[in-house]
């Protein structure tokens, strides 16, 4: 039998890679970040540009979905008005865990130049934000960099833990 012995640890053996479950799960999560299409204003155009062929978001595994049930991240791209605030909260609640939020552009971060009665002064008043992306509007490259940083953040988290429900309160 000795001649048929397979050294599993060596190249040419069975294709085995040893890793921890954490890494495997986070590898899967961080490389298939499906984003909810959330273009609210001009920043939405830059988000669409990132998804289109020139900047090609698909190579990151980021595919835009039009349903919160299928989405992992919400890229809030644009001005959130007070009238719309309850809907963003509802859509965020409908997303399945684990979920992350990127606040894209000055308007989503702080209200931006719309220092008025009708604009929510930062989406973090309504939903918890993981990553703030400055700019007005941020270029597609910076949105992709933001997604890469978010991937890095996801990889540094424990994969199997009871996900603390992310509520503001």
């Amino acid at each position: 039998m000795a001649q048929h012995q397979v050294n599993y640890m060596q190249d040419g053996g069975l294709p085995v890679a040893l890793t921890s479950i954490d890494k495997l799960v986070n590898w899967g999560r961080s490389n298939s970040l499906w984003a909810l299409t959330y273009g609210l204003a001009c920043c939405g155009i830059e988000m669409m540009a990132s998804g289109a062929s020139r900047y090609d978001f698909d190579r990151f595994g980021t595919i835009f979905r039009a349903s919160p049930r299928q989405a992992d991240i919400m890229i809030v791209a644009g001005t959130l008005t007070k009238k719309h605030a309850e809907f963003i909260k509802r859509l965020y609640d409908q997303m399945t865990e684990p979920k992350w939020v990127i606040s894209m552009g000055s308007c989503a971060n702080t209200g931006g130049m719309f220092n008025t009665y009708a604009t929510v002064q930062g989406v973090d008043r309504v939903i918890p934000v993981d990553l703030y992306l400055p700019g007005c509007a941020p270029r597609p490259e910076s949105l992709q960099y933001a997604v890469m940083l978010l991937q890095k953040k996801i990889r540094s988290q424990k994969a199997i833990k009871t996900q603390k429900p992310k509520r503001l309160m």
Binding site: E86, G111, Y117, R125, P128, K152
Partner: protein, 269 residues
């Protein structure tokens, strides 16, 4: 006109302090100067509509009438004077000076290539008759006028707010409405989503967009200092280099290697 003030110290002092600046008036001319307009004005007068004032300003005729004549006048202009479009309709807030609103109707005649404006004045508590049966565009404009100024319109098919949410309080385009919103506006989304009790937890709006607090890990994160949200910030913490991947690479993902990349100089290749 306002006296000139030097604007080279704008960084030190805002010069937008004159909230009720009155713009200088554009010159007016008599209606009889223009043949087409004088015929239109004659037609209005012939229909026994009382004309309070009329003049031409920036090549457009402005006619002041009484608010109760508005439907009659617009019908006359549409059917007999070829002003087939109502391009705009809204109100002007004159509450502090004259105690009411000026409502204007901007008309356009494509065949005559002329624009004229019908204006009327209503008291603050008065309402005005709807013209949405004559012009479909008036439907939404009148709703907007109600939403922004609180001017009520009689016999409108669907008198509801159009821009602001239905449960909004106040009319934002009034001169007395603060630009940054009253108390109701500033807490609107918090009250609606989380309830009034949540005001203390969420806190007031921060309207200083230049505010950066490096120790606040709830709201701020800085590149090279990636700490999780809400973690206590340690100022002595070592700065991490900017990188989009961890030092030892990522499991199953190949990092970008500049030496292996190729720069294409021939775009038509």
């Amino acid at each position: 006109m306002r006296a000139y003030t030097p604007k080279d110290n704008v960084q030190k002092k805002s010069y937008y302090t004159d909230r009720y600046w009155i713009a200088p008036q554009v010159a007016k001319s008599k209606v009889s100067d223009d043949k087409v307009f004088s015929e239109d004005l004659e037609a209005i007068k012939k229909a026994k509509i009382k004309v309070l004032d009329s003049y031409i300003q920036v090549e457009q005729m402005v006619v002041y009438i009484k608010p109760e004549d508005i439907v009659k006048t617009l019908q006359l202009l549409r059917d007999e004077c070829a002003y087939t479009q109502l391009s705009e309709l809204s109100a002007i807030d004159w509450i502090s000076q004259r105690g009411g609103f000026e409502v204007f109707y901007q008309m356009l005649s494509m065949s005559k290539r002329k624009r004229l404006r019908i204006k009327c004045f209503i008291k603050q508590d008065e309402s005005i008759e709807s013209v949405s049966k004559l012009f479909r565009s008036a439907d939404w404009s009148e709703r907007e006028m109600y939403d922004m100024f609180g001017v009520k319109v009689n016999n409108h098919p669907f008198m509801k707010r159009i821009l602001m949410p239905d449960d909004w309080e106040g009319h934002p385009l009034l001169k007395t409405y603060p630009l940054q919103g009253d108390e109701f506006a500033s807490w609107y989304e918090v009250d609606k989503i989380f309830g009034k009790e949540a005001r203390d937890i969420i806190g007031p709006e921060i309207r200083d967009s230049a505010r950066v607090d490096r120790y606040d890990t709830e709201r701020f994160a800085r590149l090279g200092h990636e700490v999780a949200k809400g973690v206590e910030f340690n100022p002595d913490e070592e700065k991490k280099p900017l990188a989009y991947q961890e030092d030892d690479g990522v499991f199953l993902i190949e990092g970008f290697d500049e030496d292996k990349s190729q720069i294409i100089s021939d775009r038509k290749r």
